[in-house]
């Protein structure tokens, strides 16, 4: 069964959270980040080309213009492939683990899988960003040496930075609380 809700992040971009339940032991949350707008793309391209044209009038070297075109193209490709995240998926499988997938705008997908035996807890952390306090979800991993210690804190849904997870935490924590509780973990 599917469930979709839309929120907005700190900067006003539109986020959508989709929840799918494959079976009582498998849940998937999909958070899609705001898309790249034509306005920002045009603004960046115009800035770069105006700067290149200014340099060209100074130096009278036409290589600058070709270089500006190359820089714009390569920069856009690099941005789409390495920086811009289209949507992020969190797949929770009972007694197996938690999988986080980030899909970039160029189609690249990068996946991390954390086994359930390493997960200590799922918590909400506070962070101070500029003048605000924002909340984000993260997973605490167990420390193999010390039974009560924490070895690593893994934040979730990092693709669009400046997201405030407080408004979506209720949905996610209700969902995975059930699975984690049934695996014998405490919230």
């Amino acid at each position: 069964m599917e469930d979709e809700q839309s929120f907005s992040d700190i900067c006003g971009g539109r986020l959508a959270l989709q929840r799918r339940c494959y079976s009582p032991s498998c849940l998937e949350f999909c958070l899609s980040c705001p898309r790249i707008t034509l306005r920002s793309l045009t603004a960046v391209t115009c800035t770069v080309w105006l700067a290149a044209y200014g340099l060209f009038t100074l130096c009278e070297n036409s290589m600058i213009l070709s270089a500006a075109i190359f820089i714009t193209l390569l920069g856009l490709l690099g941005y789409l492939h390495f920086v811009k995240i289209d949507h992020e998926t969190l797949l929770i499988i009972d007694s197996l683990g938690i999988q986080m997938t980030s899909s970039y705008a160029s189609g690249k997908e990068s996946t991390t899988f954390i086994e359930m035996g390493e997960v200590k807890d799922v918590v909400i952390n506070e962070a101070i960003y500029m003048q605000k306090v924002i909340y984000y979800l993260c997973i605490l991993l167990k420390d193999p040496v010390e039974p009560h210690g924490i070895s690593q804190v893994v934040p979730l849904f990092q693709g669009g930075r400046r997201q405030d997870h407080l408004c979506i935490q209720q949905k996610v924590s209700l969902g995975d609380g059930g699975i984690l509780a049934s695996s014998g973990r405490q919230k």
Binding site: C26, I93, T111, G117
Partner: protein, 557 residues
């Protein structure tokens, strides 16, 4: 906990039979390794499993039954399969079933209490996870960065769920040796069932490659030695060789073959071997050396005048300046004497560049060192003079204050000097102090030049180190066979129908390139400078000679 069954994708199309594998109770997961087909004799199956268990130390048992209904559902088969649960007792007993050619699977796991109390047997929810057996067999799991205080033994003891799966498949080689096409008593289906013939060919080719390569490398070295012999350079023959394009092409091919069959690591050879490039390099070297010498002469003329507005001591200035100018004159004459032979020397030296780019870079570094040899000499002269001056000054300064350095006790002691000793000491001290700016300026200029040359050489050494320590094989493996180096796994949920078990596909997540380079870095020769910045400054101030980039095991000068 939900029960998990890891099922190999190669067995999804196999005929009905028994499931054979390992049960991991801590993770409640069953790793299916192979399917045993009908007909079989249970005693022989148990014997085979005992053999495999002994050979591989993996607890391989019969886990359940597999039913692939190709034709109309057969009731008798169903009852027969249930009866097998009594022969091979295992808790829990898995019953996997697949409808004819469709994607609907069903899976039951029952806990047998006994043949009479069927009512008490419980059924658990099962999750099916498909995995590619060949890839998991060949893959090596790289756990995330291990904590520094963790012992190596801990990793095997507390192996996570997935590491246990990988471990089980990797160690069960003994089970995969016999196949359903073999004549043995038991017919198994596993990853070898697809394409056994190809893997035999690959194995044969691998074994044969070693000696064949060695033989061909010897033959090729003989041929190239014969062709480089002096006889072929005599006039009629060399004219013929240059006119025939076949010989050019043969030479080109010989170079390529030597590269392919060589047993040495190759980087980027054969580009420096083009004749015109060597000639251009040789032609460029002489004017560069001349240019450097000319610039040095200008610099010395500047120092002998009034450099930066400072007033030098005229006599000392002239002496030092003329001394260094004479050296430059000698050096230029030497270079001009050597110029006809430079090209040939470079060509012979460049032959060794076919051993790789690193050799070529090292040769370049050595050429730079030879070309700037005069700068090194000037630095040594200037440093020694300055060092002597500083030592003299410090000793006479102690005399000025009425103290002396006690060599026996390694400390400064007071001393009563005679009047004439004091007089001469003070005179010498004054002379040295007033000559200090001139010497210091020469020392400063030549030290800066020397540091510049050392920096350039150091950068070349760093590049050579980087190339040497680059793990090309691991990078190639990551590019061509990414499943061999695994950072972890990723799961994909397959088509799901309500009422059927959840099906997942487990794929291997390859290691990112940065971690490949970091994990498999080759050991470098480790020529790091031995001084810290503080000791370097101290040495510069006192005029002691600096020797950077010493290899380990070199004796100190």
């Amino acid at each position: 906990m939900v029960l998990k069954a890891f099922f190999p994708t190669c067995c999804a199309s196999a005929d009905s039979g028994l499931l054979v594998g390992r049960w991991v109770p801590e993770q409640s997961s069953a790793v299916v390794l192979a399917v045993v087909h009908f007909p079989f004799i249970p005693i022989q199956v148990k014997e085979l499993l005992a053999q495999v268990q002994q050979a591989s130390q993996v607890g391989v048992t019969v886990l359940g039954t597999w039913c692939h209904r190709r034709q109309e559902p057969e009731e008798s088969l169903g009852h027969f399969l249930e009866g097998l649960g009594a022969i091979f007792s295992h808790k829990p007993w898995f019953q996997l079933c697949r409808e004819r050619g469709s994607k609907s699977w069903s899976c039951k796991a029952t806990h047998w209490q006994g043949p009479t109390s069927h009512a008490a047997s419980g059924e658990d929810q099962v999750m099916l996870i498909f995995y590619d057996q060949r890839k998991v067999l060949l893959s090596q799991l790289h756990p995330p960065a291990v904590l520094p205080d963790r012992q190596a033994g801990d990793t095997t003891a507390s192996a996570g769920g997935l590491a246990a799966v990988f471990d089980t498949v990797a160690r069960s080689e003994a089970l995969f040796q016999s196949d359903r096409f073999d004549e043995g008593p038991v017919r198994l289906s596993h990853w070898q069932s697809e394409g056994v013939e190809a893997s035999i060919l690959v194995e044969l080719a691998k074994w044969a490659a070693g000696p064949v390569c060695l033989l061909l490398a010897c033959l090729l070295s003989l041929v190239s030695a014969a062709s480089a012999c002096r006889v072929f350079k005599l006039w009629p023959l060399s004219f013929i060789w240059s006119k025939l394009s076949t010989c050019e092409q043969l030479r080109h091919r010989l170079e390529q073959l030597t590269l392919i069959f060589s047993t040495r690591k190759a980087k980027n050879p054969a580009q420096l071997m083009r004749k015109d490039l060597i000639g251009q390099l040789a032609d460029a070297l002489i004017p560069v050396a001349d240019h450097v010498a000319e610039e040095l002469q200008h610099l010395l003329q500047w120092l002998m005048g009034a450099p930066a507005g400072l007033k030098m001591n005229r006599a000392l200035d002239q002496v030092l300046g003329r001394f260094f100018l004479y050296h430059i004159h000698l050096w230029i004459s030497y270079i001009h004497l050597m110029s006809p032979f430079i090209e040939r020397i470079l060509w012979h030296v460049g032959l060794s560049a076919c051993l790789g780019l690193t050799v070529a870079l090292s040769i370049l570094s050595d050429i730079i060192a030879l070309l700037t040899f005069h700068i090194y000499c000037f630095y040594v002269y200037g440093a020694r003079l300055y060092c002597l001056k500083i030592h003299g000054l410090s000793s006479l300064w102690r005399l000025f204050r009425g103290k002396k350095w006690n060599v026996l006790r390694q400390r400064v002691d007071s001393c009563s000097y005679d009047l004439d000793q004091l007089f001469i000491g003070t005179l010498l001290f004054t002379i040295l102090v007033f000559l200090l700016p001139t010497t210091a300026l020469y020392y400063l200029v030549f030290t800066l030049l020397r540091l510049l040359v050392v920096t350039v050489q150091g950068l070349i050494h760093l590049l050579v180190d980087l190339i040497n320590s680059l793990p090309l094989y691991s990078l190639g493996l990551r590019l061509c066979r990414p499943y061999r180096l695994a950072a972890g796994v990723k799961f994909r949920v397959l088509e799901h129908e309500t009422g059927r078990p959840l099906r997942l596909l487990m794929q291997i997540n390859p290691l990112p390139y940065s971690r490949v380079v970091h994990t498999y870095r080759l050991p470098t020769c480790g020529c790091h400078p031995k001084h810290s910045w503080g000791s370097l400054c101290r040495k510069l101030f006192f005029g002691e000679l600096i020797y950077p980039w010493r290899q380990r095991g070199d004796k100190q000068d």
